[in-house]
Assembly symmetry: C2
Homo-oligomer: 413 residues x 2
């Protein structure tokens, strides 16, 4: 049994995590939030109080911290008495925060893989480059570290495990499909930090097929998917974290990730990429100023947080899992549908942030009550998916399943 939560980060996902932690502070204890810019944390706490989100009277404090300074994070953990750290800061800080958790013996979780700002798309499996090198250290320190516990990666990993546990005897393919059928009303915008968003699509697209890594380029492989609620949608094979852990648990299966893109997004992306404006490497202007083009693109694009108030429509994210059941071919689609406007009304963020921010709070509750407090490093598919999915059903992200027996809610017990 653990309690008291420290949230690292001050962006859109941190906002959701803060609201959801507040809604369950009877279970989670004292709440703290820290980022480089304390004022962002102050604003988030203010919005929590405006919504009256705290379930019971309690502590919610803001702090300034440089999350790339392990000693500073460790000090903050000790000072706050946090036993659970939810890291939803930039993808560049993971390893520093994880080290601080190992040093202080507290639980760690994040929602996206560690990235080196200087590198785009390293060799697969990505987790092997950073996180998995700390497995022994976690086990030795008895530290629960749950990697990638947002929606994708995260819930979709639990869906794969649920297919294994409940619906199929053997698994031959896992296709994760992420469709945002919402509309933000801007000419162009990214749904989260443009720098991270574009970095995701500029590298090699790795998929696991026929027992080995396959390389493609972004937008090279497209496929139309017919999904509940959002209908037929074109998605493209995309490099994504969960492929790099699911392929280790299901080496016999093809594991692919597909993200939906409209023609307009692809066109803008293609222009920027082909011109060199998505480069993370500095260029020199005629006046001699050194500039990273991607950071200028980020500067001219709308702040993703600004999209939330006018965002309408729905997301659909889920796993098409194929294999056999009782010796016959079988297929199941396990999925969630979320609504941008409902998310904004509840927590002041759009649906993309909502689907990413609710799952780590569910994981925190499962660590707090001992269910997932495994005292070692785990990817989500390593853990029992049922209590996680049950809890998500109750706190805002209901799961449904569609197979030969119809389209229905997933309920346990």
């Amino acid at each position: 049994m653990k309690k008291n939560v420290l949230i690292i980060g001050g962006g859109g996902v941190a906002q959701v995590v803060a609201h959801k932690c507040a809604q369950h502070n009877d279970l989670l204890g004292d709440l703290h939030i820290a980022s480089r810019t304390k004022s962002k944390c102050d604003s988030i706490i203010e919005s929590v109080h405006q919504k009256g989100a705290m379930k019971v009277p309690g502590t919610f404090e803001a702090h300034a911290v440089n999350a790339m300074d392990t000693a500073a994070v460790a000090d903050l953990i000790r000072k706050t008495g946090a036993q659970i750290v939810i890291n939803v800061g930039s993808a560049f800080v993971n390893m520093y925060v994880l080290d601080a958790c190992i040093e202080t013996g507290v639980a760690y979780m994040d929602t996206a893989i560690h990235e080196d700002p200087e590198k785009i798309c390293e060799t697969p499996p990505w987790y092997g480059n950073y996180e998995w090198k700390k497995r022994e250290a976690c086990e030795k320190a008895g530290v629960t570290a749950i990697l990638g516990v947002g929606f994708d990666p995260g819930v979709v990993n639990a869906y794969a495990r649920l297919a294994e546990d409940e619906y199929l005897d053997t698994i031959t393919s896992i296709d994760i499909v992420d469709i945002n059928a919402g509309s933000h009303g801007k000419w162009f915008a990214t749904n989260f930090d443009p720098e991270i968003n574009f970095r995701e699509f500029t590298g090699t697209v790795y998929s696991w097929q026929n027992g080995q890594w396959q390389s493609n380029t972004m937008f090279e492989v497209g496929k139309e998917w017919d999904l509940p609620v959002v209908g037929k949608q074109k998605a493209y094979m995309t490099g994504h974290d969960e492929v790099h852990s699911l392929s280790a648990r299901y080496p016999q299966a093809d594991v692919r990730f597909w993200m939906g893109f409209g023609d307009h997004y692809i066109n803008v992306f293609t222009v920027l990429k082909n011109l060199g404006l998505l480069s993370e490497q500095p260029v020199k202007t005629a006046e001699g100023q050194e500039v990273v083009p991607l950071k200028v693109v980020k500067a001219v694009l709308p702040d993703p947080a600004s999209l939330a108030p006018n965002y309408t429509g729905k997301t659909c994210i889920g796993d098409f899992v194929k294999g056999t059941k009782d010796g016959k071919p079988a297929e199941v689609f396990i999925y969630n549908v979320a609504d941008h406007k409902e998310a904004y009304e509840e927590v002041g963020s759009q649906g993309i942030s909502y689907t990413a921010g609710v799952p780590p709070v569910a994981a925190a509750i499962l660590i707090a009550n001992g269910t997932w407090d495994v005292r070692k490093m785990a990817n989500v598919e390593d853990l029992d998916p049922k209590p996680f999915i049950s809890l998500l059903n109750r706190i805002g992200l209901p799961t449904r399943v569609k197979d030969a027996n119809g389209d229905r809610a997933v309920e346990f017990g």
Copy 2:
């Protein structure tokens, strides 16, 4: 009679001017070239000697000068003994160089209108904002100043005047059409300085119609033109210098400028513009760095000079002039066709630079021999077009005319 030429500028057009001056140094005397970066001038002179372009043994010297420092330019004029200054530097330096010419009493010419780096697209007529304010000063000092004597503006202004002098009794419309049907083989590139190129298309499109200024936006008004050699081409009404002087001489006529653009160019331009990446106003990155987006776009695009070796295809630029002849409606198309590869072989630049760089050298020869040494400020349509067009016929830019009597070379005497 004047002699000795000082070229201001070190880009692609300056390269053409240098080669063409060298080919006529028997008439033009000593040659000098100056830009902020002297090494660019050294390279240009080196290429002149590599081609053996100097007609007779003579002087060709490189200098460093800040062309926005009138006193420094005046000193250089005195030091070199130049009596003719060909300004093909950035559009931001015109007024400083013109002032230096007035101060020293030497002839001035340029190929594009003065621009303030801080402003995009000022109120019409553009010449009224800067150049024409110096008319009296030129006349008083007896200084010949020929404005906009590239191809467009420049030769196309002479074509309008030729239509008036030779082909029509009244003029009701002048449509200048500029088509580059060449191919540079890059995914995207601009044919001259991207900063100037994009600035040209981000402001209001002014045209002179029905006796008044009309405002449109770029790519709002498109029209397919059927042209000699390059065939049917889509062009868009574009703001351009010559509209702002021709409308003063021909106030009764509609005066429009049309530039050809492929769908690919328009798409790239539209993406960059709508994202804010063509802005000349600085933005601040998340890291606090102040950056002008347009300068970053310039930094990632190919150097226009690098396009020349692989450029193929032709340009067609000319004037469709309508009016009456002997009381009946009449129409004439006066035009030039230039070839990118031939231009590169002769002077080491592509066709766009060639068409812009040859006309000021023709003008310099006409000033040197007295024909155009009018000792006042003039736009090209104010001058007798015949000696200019005759000379251009002989030095690389032949003029043709197409009307009810057929398609034929324009020859005089």
